[in-house]
Symmetry: D2
Subunit: 141 residues, 4 copies
């Protein structure tokens, strides 16, 4: 399966990424670029995007980039720093870049920025590679 086929299969049942309105702009093994538009219903009590919105976008980018290698990868440790407030109507981009891989682990950086290129949040994630291929997973389901 190609990275695009894997991500299409993931997105098909990823109802939360669908609710977020995530669009896959680019996908390669170890790399992913996503796009979404912030809506009113994603805001917190300060009328800015809830911290969980940027996190969720980054977490999806991590999952797609990591699984794009063709082997199932699950997130084990993630962190996010919120830099600037995000408002309803903002278009957010998330770019996941692979920093390092070993047999069982891979490390990613995800940057969240708006259409003008202003950085909104920085995310970092480690995934565990289960050893199951997407071919095996697809037969099972």
């Amino acid at each position: 399966m190609t990275p695009a086929e894997i991500v299409a299969k993931m997105m098909e049942k990823d109802f939360f990424s669908q609710w977020l309105g995530i669009e896959v702009m680019e996908i390669r093994p170890g790399y992913c670029l996503l796009r979404m538009r912030v809506r009113e219903e994603m805001c917190n009590g300060f009328s800015i995007a809830h911290g969980g919105i940027s996190f969720s976008l980054a977490d999806s980018a991590l999952a797609f980039a990591a699984n794009g290698h063709g082997e199932q990868a699950v997130s084990i440790s993630t962190a996010i720093d919120h830099l600037e407030k995000v408002e309803p109507g903002d278009i957010l981009m998330a770019e996941a870049v692979e920093l390092h891989t070993s047999r069982k682990l891979a490390r990613y950086r995800v940057e969240i920025f708006d259409e003008a290129g202003a950085m909104k949040a920085i995310f970092r994630g480690t995934v565990y590679r289960t050893g199951k291929t997407w071919e095996q997973l697809s037969i099972k389901n």
Copy 2:
């Protein structure tokens, strides 16, 4: 304003916490206990809760506990480790506990567990205290 009044005011416009179905079980300055039920539309492509769901619940718990002191607090650095998968129908609890405060910063730990007490995720957050009281914020809005 009491912690309960502040959180009621925050929840009133926190449309994302409302979408998540978050209920405030207990609130004191520096402490918060939340509860929510995981729905199908919160799942990712593996049919388990998206990583952003536990994060968002923990992030709300952090915000409520930190603002409960009566001074506006904004999250500046957070991290989460996912320990066990969370499934649709699961009831999640998030307990935010204050670890340390200084004049401008406060540190929190948030644990996510299910109704049986099984730990699902561990979250850690640092907030910046802006110096604005909720009395001042309320007059402004």
Copy 3:
């Protein structure tokens, strides 16, 4: 091998923990309590303990607690928040507590406090369990 035997074997060649003056106060599988005294040569340009000192103490506590299970464990992701300054002459304690284990991973919290019980830093770590027992490692060396 008992946890105490494993840690004795680790400490024997752990020249940096020796330089730090680390003493093992208590060791059980998944738990460790360490003690050290901060010296002038551990300070940074502000004449307080360099951030790396508390980190190193916590990292040793993590390694000892995690390897105390009898299986080799290596640190893959760690984070520390410095809460209060540490000064030359201070006695630091580090207590590592296991939060969760799975077949390949384990999670720990390490708290750094002084003799009066004042919390100085909070550390969090994830280790990867290699599957090699300390019996196997000891025969090899």
Copy 4:
């Protein structure tokens, strides 16, 4: 005071960075490149560099880069992922790059690599800007 003057002043009393053998290769406001050689006495029980060594090098790089702006900055939250083992005799470089600044906070990424350019660890740090200039600090001491 120039960034180089500030770092010279910091290094003068930074006995731990001196013990590590840290050399300042390049310093600009918000940027720093350091170099050190790993010695036997920096190793842990597995005869590889203790996790605290890479952390300490990265933490010094963070401190120098952040204080290079001329205003005192203190580390409040840091994290490190160890990617590859570091051995005695290895030359380590640490490059600190500023990702974002606001009035009271600044964010940095520090990468640790060897002379061949192989990445050994990734570090991330947030500093709090105290508002005191290095001119003020220097008069006081």
